[in-house]
Structures are given as structure tokens and as C-alpha cells.
């Protein structure tokens, strides 16, 4: 996978994960153009398209578009499953996830993605294990904060 974008129906970016080196300017241009292209597609069209020299796989969940750019040899159908798995993870974590959750907790959305994919490939195929890791890391964050506060009270 080269990159993954999440955006709203109005074209606002909610998450952008880049697995290839590109400058900020280049990323902005690609995002803008691709988002426009996808928003222009009709609902009956298929989830795959060729865009520039990339294969694009996208799917809409409620008000959010999930869009991935994959390599030539990548299986488009399993990419749809990857997207779906990510959505399930978000759903489990936030409890019936909606766009607002992603907006207000974008950093958590990234953390979850980074426990599921690494360098553009799936690192863990068990939903349970991804969620467990996130849970533990979150706990670590809180424990440290707790301890930090304790130390300062002394």
C-alpha cells in the first residue's frame, strides 16, 4: 500500500497515512486531486479505479470514504477486506464509531491503524490482538501520567 486517506463527503481529510516518501506539497496535490475524482464517482460504480499509475481501492462507510492506493500486484478484493477490518477495529474501540469520533480522536485512529498495518502491510490478522495491544498502550499512557502526577505531589 502506498497511502490511505479518510475523507468526508465534503472532501475534508480526516486521516492521511503515507507509506511512500513525498513532500508536503506533493501529498496535498495528490489528496486534493484524488478526493475530487472519487467524490465525482456515482454510487453504482465499482470500488476500483486506475488513477495516474496507481490502483485505487475505496469504500464509503456512512459519511466517510476510506481510500487506499495499492501496488500493481496487490489483490484489490483483499484490500477491501483490509479496509473493512480497520473499520471494525475503529468500531470496536470507539463503540459504534462515527465520523465525529475520528475527528475528535484522530490521534487514536492513527494509533489503531499503526497497530494493524506497518509499512503498508497487515502486521496482525487477529482483531483481538490489535485491540489488546491498543488497550495496553493506552493503559501505559495513563499509568505513566498517574505516576507522574504522584511524583509531583510528593
Amino acid at each position: 500500500m502506498q497511502f490511505m486517506l479518510l475523507f468526508s463527503r465534503q472532501g475534508k481529510l480526516r486521516l492521511q497515512k503515507w507509506y511512500v516518501p513525498l513532500s508536503d506539497k506533493e501529498r496535498k496535490k495528490i489528496s486534493r486531486d484524488l478526493v475530487q475524482t472519487i467524490l465525482a464517482r456515482k454510487p453504482k460504480m465499482c470500488s476500483f479505479l486506475e488513477w495516474r499509475d496507481l490502483k485505487i481501492v475505496y469504500k464509503r462507510y456512512a459519511s466517510l470514504y476510506f481510500c487506499c492506493a495499492v501496488e500493481d500486484q496487490d489483490n484489490e478484493l483483499i484490500t477491501l477486506e483490509i479496509i473493512h477490518r480497520y473499520v471494525e477495529l475503529l468500531d470496536k474501540y470507539f463503540g459504534s464509531v462515527c465520523e465525529l469520533d475520528i475527528i475528535f480522536n484522530f490521534e487514536k485512529a492513527y494509533f489503531i491503524l499503526d497497530e494493524f498495518l506497518l509499512g503498508g502491510e497487515a502486521q496482525e490478522t487477529s482483531k483481538k490482538n490489535v485491540l489488546k495491544a491498543i488497550e495496553q498502550a493506552d493503559l501505559l499512557q495513563e499509568v505513566r501520567i498517574f505516576l507522574y502526577h504522584q511524583i509531583h505531589l510528593l
Binding site: S23, M45, C46, L77, E81, L118, A122
Partner: protein, 646 residues
């Protein structure tokens, strides 16, 4: 100094902005506050400030002043800081800037941290955005972690190694020892990432490929277990056990089996098993079938297996899910050359896909249809393709028209069918045919001697209906100029026009706004040629004198008593803008006949107006009769003295 506003508070505030200007103002205010907080080296709230900066960056505002702060967060001992710091690094830094190298030491330390979640952050960041230099420096650490028994770290190290190899291929060797028992792992995460690593290594190095071929039996066993094992809640997706791992294994098998008979044979059974037993009601099952088909088609599989694969694709074509139809067409396009007959069996389904609503599916169906045209099915296929040409979007018309011309040229069952097909294309998609079609078609028509009368009559009729499509008009004009005598002489099936009517039509082209200069050239040439075929010479002379000093292109003329020299002007840079760059004026030749026995010459003056000083070259085609037989002579003049055009 009050505490900086919290992240979620900021988000809430920014979202209340009603205009872009209002939002910008809020952002600027907050950025200023963040900047001064950074300047004060505030450790407590650095994390909060960077998080806010990342939010604003996502909205599209500049955040480069936060880059160094991310590095400070990464270096902090607090887990919260590191989490946000690494995230910031991945979002704000890119390997083209030197500043990212400052991360290297921190990452090195964190790779050896006592907490696995910190090690995880480091591995993730390195595997996502590590530059070649960083990868070189840290490859050793990654290799160490690849051998750990901690599966949480091992799986991440494997993917990190993939990234290192992509960035610095020479380092691949050092990971070889660590791959020794990767596949003996029970943990699916490690298995999946190991297969990805092995795939990367095999794709990059023939030596590695040869080395890893021995893993085929083990991979087959793992795959078999996944298929045969009962329900495993942890890895189940709609009744299928770990489809992600299955797909990856199938892909690795493809690479290992390619051009190797033994490996291909060893995987034959499992491929057949997956192909026949996988549940097809959901996307996930079809994803596995798709990968299986790709593997079967790429390795040295026996013909029975190949037919099985093509039939799966055939079934995909009938699936309600358009995504499935799309991948089927893509795959069939890849195999149509090697398994032509098998794909032919699905021709009618493929042709049906021409009517699909989706643009991508239509395009593939069109490409595939052209690939399937042969001498046996040309009539039926062409009917469908011409119907498609009629109704398809403009973006397809040029390619479709070209495809039709090519197929017609190869497989036309008769000359009349061929001409009819060309006519159909010119009338339905005439504005989309490529520029080189016109001379090609003229050549084709010239060679179909027995069809001249039929062709000119049909083209004339087409002109009466529509003069907007330039290629059609050009070909029609040329034909009328050549065969106008056949048009008016009663050789046509329908009521023939009289000479004046024909000249009316051609003159109409000259004055029409719809005609391009090139088209005007064609029609003027046609009128001139008719001076030797028609009797209304006075009228023709009048037209020529009015329009004759404008730009022209003249084409080959077969009339044996014609005095015209035919030529094309070829320009170095702009082939079709003759009329914009040159203007020609042909004066009358000195005589119609060249005296015998070298007793005289015929000269004809051509005046050339060349304001842009383009290099002059001339190609001359002379057609004349010698002792009653037609002769054709070609010559080029390339050595016009530079003074003549500079």
C-alpha cells in the same frame, strides 16, 4: 501563564467557525500561542501543543515549526510524549529533509527499550518512513528483533525488515539467517509478516528465490491447515480462517512456482482444493479465489487446472458484484493471449459487459472484446462493437474507432463489408478518429477498385446528412474528387446527382464554418480534380480563382490525363498545420502533355508563402500515362537552398 487549551477543546472551537476566514484567524491565534510555548521550552505541554499542531496540519495549515518539537517528544521518557512525537514525525517529517536523521539515535535507543510498546513505536516509524541512511544505521537492531521470541515484536520487525530491504536492497543478505524458522511460528501475525518478508526477498533476488523454494511443502501445509481447520474465532472472517494469510501464502506460492516444474507440481493439489472448496457468497471468499486464479495462471500448472481457473473467472463475470466483474475482466485480459481458446468460451458474457454502467468495466470489456475478435466471429463482434461505439462516452470513442479499423483490416470478410464498417465509424464517431486514419482509409479505398462507385455514392450521401465530422468530410471530398465521374454517370444504385449538385456540396464545404483549413484543402482539391472529369469547367475555374490562393493540400490523383503534380508537404514539427505555416499557390502548368523524344518540358510554378521560415521539404508523386499505361513516380526534394526558406 495559563495552561494551553486542550486538543479536543481546540477542535471544538475551530469547528464553530462559520467561514474560512474565521477558521484561519483562530488557527493563526493558536499557532502563535503554540510558537511561544515552544520558545519557552515548555516540557509539560509540548505533547498537547504538538497534537494540536497535527490537527491543524490535517486541515491544511503549515506546521513545519513543530518538526523539531516532535524530535524532543520522541526523546522524552514519557510514553504519551513518544506516542505523539512519533506520530508527528511520520506526519510532518519526510526523508528528503536532513532533520529526520536526528531521529536515528532516538529510534536506536527505543528499539532497545524495556517496554515493548515503545519498541513497537520505533519499529513502526522506521518501517513507515525510514530513509536509506537510517535503515543502514539501524538494520542490525531490526535483525536482532527479528530473532526475538516475542511475537509482538517479531511481526513488526519482519515488516520493518521489508522496508529496509526496499530502501537498501544490498542489506537483504543479513536478514537471511533470521528467516530460518519464521514459518514454524504459530502466531498468525508473525506468519503473515514473515510471508510478506519472504515474498519481498524472493521477488528481489533469484538466489533467494532458489533458496526458498524448499519452503513450498511447508507453505502448502500451513495453507491446508487453514482450510481444513475448524472454526477459529480469532481469525475467522465470514467462515474463512485468516483470509489475509491465505492470500499472502498463495501469492508467495505463485512466485515460487513460476518457471519451476517441481514446485508447481507440489502446489497443484492445494490450488485445486482452494479453487473448488472456497465459499463464494462473500467478497472474502472471492478474494481468495482471485488470488488462486492468479497463481494458477502464472505457475506451470496442468491444463485442467488452468481451465478451472478460467471458469472461475467466467463465473466471476456473472457475479452481481461489480467489483468481482472488474477483477475478472482484468485477469482475463492478462490471460487472453496465452489461453485464448478458453477465454473465447466466455465471449458473450464479456460482450455483455460492454453495456455495464461502470466506466472501468466498460473499458476492460472493450479491450478484451478486441482481443477476442477473429475471422470466425468478426461479423457478430463488430456488430456489438459498433453499437458500443454509437453509445459510449467520448473518452472511449477514439480507442474504439481505432480498434474497429484494425480488426476490420485484419479480418474483413468482404471488401463491401469493410467499406460499410468504415462508413459506420466515420458517421457515428467521425470526429474522434485519429488523424492518420484519413490517409490510411484513402489508401484502402484506392485499393478496392470494384468498390469505388459504391463508396463514393455512400460517402456523398453521408455528406448530405452531416458535414461536421472532419475526417468523414475529408475522406468523402477526396473520393468525390477521384470518382466523381462514377457518382454522376449512372453507376450508382440510387438516383444520381447532377454535376452542379455535387459542386454545390463541395463548395458548401469551402464556405462552411464547420470546415477546418485541412478540410477546405481537401474540398478545393476535389473541385480542381473534377475539372478533368466534369464538364462544368467554367464554374470550377471560377471557384478555384476565388479560393485558389488559400492554403492547400493536394493528394494523389489517378487520372491518366491529369496535368496535376501531386505532393504532400511534410513539416518537421507540425504535421497537420500546413495551412497555418505555409500557404501555397499553384499556377497553371505550361502544358498538358510532355513532348516525346525530349523535345520539351512541362513546368508548373508553385508559390510558397512561409512566414515562419519553416524548413522546406517536398515529396512529389507524379502519375502520368506512358504509351497508354499509367506510371507512378515518387521523388523527394530535401535540398532546397536555405536562402529559400530562411
Amino acid at each position: 501563564m495559563p495552561a494551553p487549551i486542550r486538543l479536543r477543546e481546540l477542535i471544538r472551537t475551530i469547528r464553530t467557525a462559520r467561514t474560512q476566514a474565521e477558521e484561519r484567524e483562530m488557527i493563526q491565534k493558536e499557532c502563535a500561542a503554540i510558537r511561544s510555548s515552544f520558545r519557552e521550552e515548555d516540557n509539560t505541554y509540548r505533547c498537547r501543543n504538538v497534537a494540536k499542531l497535527l490537527y491543524m496540519h490535517m486541515l491544511g495549515y503549515p506546521a513545519h515549526f513543530g518538526q523539531l518539537e516532535c524530535l524532543k517528544l520522541i526523546a522524552s521518557q514519557k510514553f504519551t510524549d513518544k506516542r505523539i512525537g512519533y506520530l508527528g514525525a511520520m506526519l510532518l517529517l519526510d526523508e528528503r529533509q536532513d532533520v529526520h536523521l536526528l531521529m536515528t539515535n532516538c529510534i536506536k535507543n527505543d528499539l532497545n527499550h524495556s517496554t515493548q510498546y515503545v519498541q513497537g513505536l520505533a519499529l513502526c516509524t522506521l518501517g513507515c518512513m525510514g530513509s536509506s541512511e537510517m535503515c543502514r544505521d539501524l538494520a542490525g537492531e531490526v535483525e536482532k528483533l527479528l530473532k526475538t521470541s516475542n511475537s509482538y515484536l517479531r511481526k513488526k520487525a519482519a515488516l520493518c525488515a521489508v522496508h529496509v530491504i526496499r530502501k537498501v536492497p544490498e542489506l537483504m543478505e543479513m536478514f537471511l539467517p533470521a528467516t530460518k524458522n519464521l514459518l514454524s511460528e504459530k502466531n498468525h501475525g508473525v506468519l503473515h509478516t514473515s510471508v510478506v518478508l519472504l515474498t519481498e526477498m524472493c521477488e528481489r533476488s533469484p538466489d533467494m528465490l532458489a533458496h526458498f523454494r524448499k519452503l513450498v511443502p511447508q507453505l502448502v501445509r500451513i495453507l491446508k491447515n487453514l482450510i481444513m481447520s475448524g472454526y477459529s474465532p480469532e481469525h475467522d472472517v465470514s467462515g474463512i480462517s485468516d483470509p489475509f494469510l491465505q492470500v499472502r501464502i498463495l501469492r508467495l506460492l505463485r512466485i515460487l512456482g513460476r518457471s519451476d516444474d517441481d514446485s508447481s507440481e507440489a502446489m497443484n493439489d492445494i490450488l485445486a482444493q482452494v479453487a473448488t472448496n472456497t465459499e463464494t457468497s462473500k467478497n472474502v471468499g472471492n478474494a481468495i479465489l482471485y488470488e488462486t486464479v492468479l497463481t494458477i495462471m502464472d505457475i506451470k500448472s496442468e491444463s485442467g487446472l488452468r481451465v478451472l481457473a478460467i471458469n472461475i473467472l467466467g463465473r466471476f463475470l456473472l457475479n452481481n458484484d461489480k467489483n468481482i466483474r472488474y477483477v475478472a475482466l482484468t485477469s482475463l485480459l492478462k490471460t487472453v493471449q496465452t489461453d485464448h481458446n478458453a477465454v473465447q468460451r466466455h465471449r458473450s458474457t464479456i460482450v455483455d459487459c460492454l453495456k455495464d454502467l461502470d466506466v472501468s468495466i466498460k473499458r476492460r470489456a472493450m479491450e478484451l472484446s478486441f482481443a477476442l475478435v477473429n475471422g470466425n466471429n468478426i461479423r457478430g463482434m463488430m456488430k456489438e462493437l459498433l453499437y458500443f461505439l454509437d453509445s459510449c462516452d467520448p473518452e472511449f470513442k477514439a480507442d474504439c474507432a481505432s480498434g474497429v479499423f484494425l480488426a476490420a483490416e485484419k479480418y474483413a470478410p468482404s471488401k463491401r463489408w469493410h467499406i460499410d464498417t468504415i462508413m459506420r465509424v466515420l458517421t457515428t464517431a467521425g470526429s474522434y478518429v485519429r488523424d492518420d486514419s484519413v490517409p490510411n482509409l484513402i489508401q484502402l479505398i484506392t485499393n478496392s477498385v470494384e468498390m469505388h462507385a459504391y463508396t463514393v455514392q455512400r460517402l456523398y450521401k453521408a455528406l448530405l446528412d452531416d458535414i461536421s465530422q472532419q475526417p468523414l468530410v475529408q475522406v468523402a471530398s477526396w473520393c468525390i474528387g477521384e470518382y466523381g465521374d462514377l457518382l454522376v454517370s449512372g453507376q450508382c444504385e440510387e438516383e444520381e446527382p447532377i454535376q452542379d449538385e455535387v459542386l454545390d456540396v463541395l463548395e458548401g464545404l469551402l464556405v462552411s464554418n464547420l470546415s477546418t483549413p485541412v478540410t477546405r484543402g481537401y474540398s478545393l482539391t476535389a473541385i480542381m480534380k473534377l475539372s478533368t472529369r466534369f464538364t462544368s469547367v467554367n464554374r470550377i475555374k471560377k471557384v478555384v480563382s476565388i479560393y485558389g490562393s488559400t492554403s492547400l493540400i493536394l493528394y494523389c490523383c489517378n487520372d491518366p490525363i491529369s496535368s496535376w503534380i501531386s505532393f504532400n508537404f511534410h513539416l518537421t514539427e507540425c504535421p497537420l498545420s500546413v495551412c497555418q505555416t505555409f500557404q501555397l499557390q499553384l499556377l497553371s502548368p505550361s502544358s498538358n502533355v510532355v513532348p516525346a523524344l525530349n523535345q520539351g518540358t512541362v513546368t508548373q510554378v508553385i508559390r510558397v508563402l512561409n512566414p515562419q521560415k519553416q524548413q522546406l521539404r517536398m515529396r512529389i508523386k507524379l502519375t502520368y500515362t506512358l504509351k497508354g499505361s499509367p506510371v507512378q513516380d515518387l521523388a523527394e526534394v530535401n535540398n532546397f537552398p536555405p536562402q529559400s526558406w530562411q
